[in-house]
Symmetry: C2
Subunit: 154 residues, 2 copies
């Protein structure tokens, strides 16, 4: 196995987890900057041609993991691999961002949901997407449906 | 930072990298099985409601990294963060698979491009997708366009 190393860090408007929009209907349109360390900057060559990037990053403020947990979007517990919980066996987060522009080692992006100072592990171009009509969203769709039928505790 | 640990392993028809379809027009529709280790199986609870999963895994047969490299889909070098090269600073691979069915700790999936025995690091539900008309695919679209205009060395 390997030991993770940061390739860069996120500048985000969110200073702690309570500020990140969560749960049903949460929108992620916050602007942020991903600053790649100088020794990795060459690896960004040609990235500006892609509209969307997959950013892998580390939940560096999460402690340990739990296999079942209650996500903010539901009042029922689900398995960690069926949620985006930060408390995972390997604490890797994933965010798809829109690339607005690149300034050398700085990627100006839209759609950050990471905290200020989050270490970035990897960036990959987003190459394809599953058409919405082929995507089933499991318990999340059910939680949304229950919400429209009546009150759901927040 | 953290040290990676496998949550399970991939059973794949591909025994070495030369067998994995690569490059322009490569299709990933191979069936495989992701077997989650018994101690993490509870974390799969409710995963069967999702049609597509994001699988993070380790390029355990890649050695080191290179910041510029020639992908199989082009005859020009690009930065590692603009490609899916296995030789990355953090050797994390990402595959979106379709979940066909779950048998306890075994996830039967379609769309594997990992090698037999690849260690799995994380599984997340795929929650949204970027509409195709909003996705720009950079050098890959250019390489495809060049190919339709004339011969491209393989």
């Amino acid at each position: 196995m390997f030991t993770s190393r940061p390739i860069g860090f996120v500048s985000s408007p969110y200073k702690d987890a309570s500020q990140v929009p969560k749960g049903l209907g949460a929108r992620h349109d916050a602007d942020g900057v991903i600053t790649i360390l100088p020794e990795f900057e060459l690896g960004l060559t040609d990235i500006e041609g892609f509209s969307h990037l997959v950013v892998l990053w580390e939940f560096d403020r999460a402690q340990g993991f739990e296999l079942m947990g209650m996500p903010p979007s539901d009042n029922r517990a689900h398995g960690v691999f069926a949620t985006r919980s930060p408390r995972r066996p390997n604490p890797i987060g994933l965010t798809i961002v829109e690339l607005l522009r690149r300034d050398g080692g700085k990627l100006h992006v839209r759609g950050v949901d990471m905290l200020e100072g989050t270490p970035v592990l990897d960036i990959k171009p987003l190459l394809s997407s599953i058409p919405a009509e082929k995507l089933r969203r499991g318990w999340l769709a059910e939680a949304e449906a229950r919400r429209t039928q009546g009150p759901v505790s927040p």
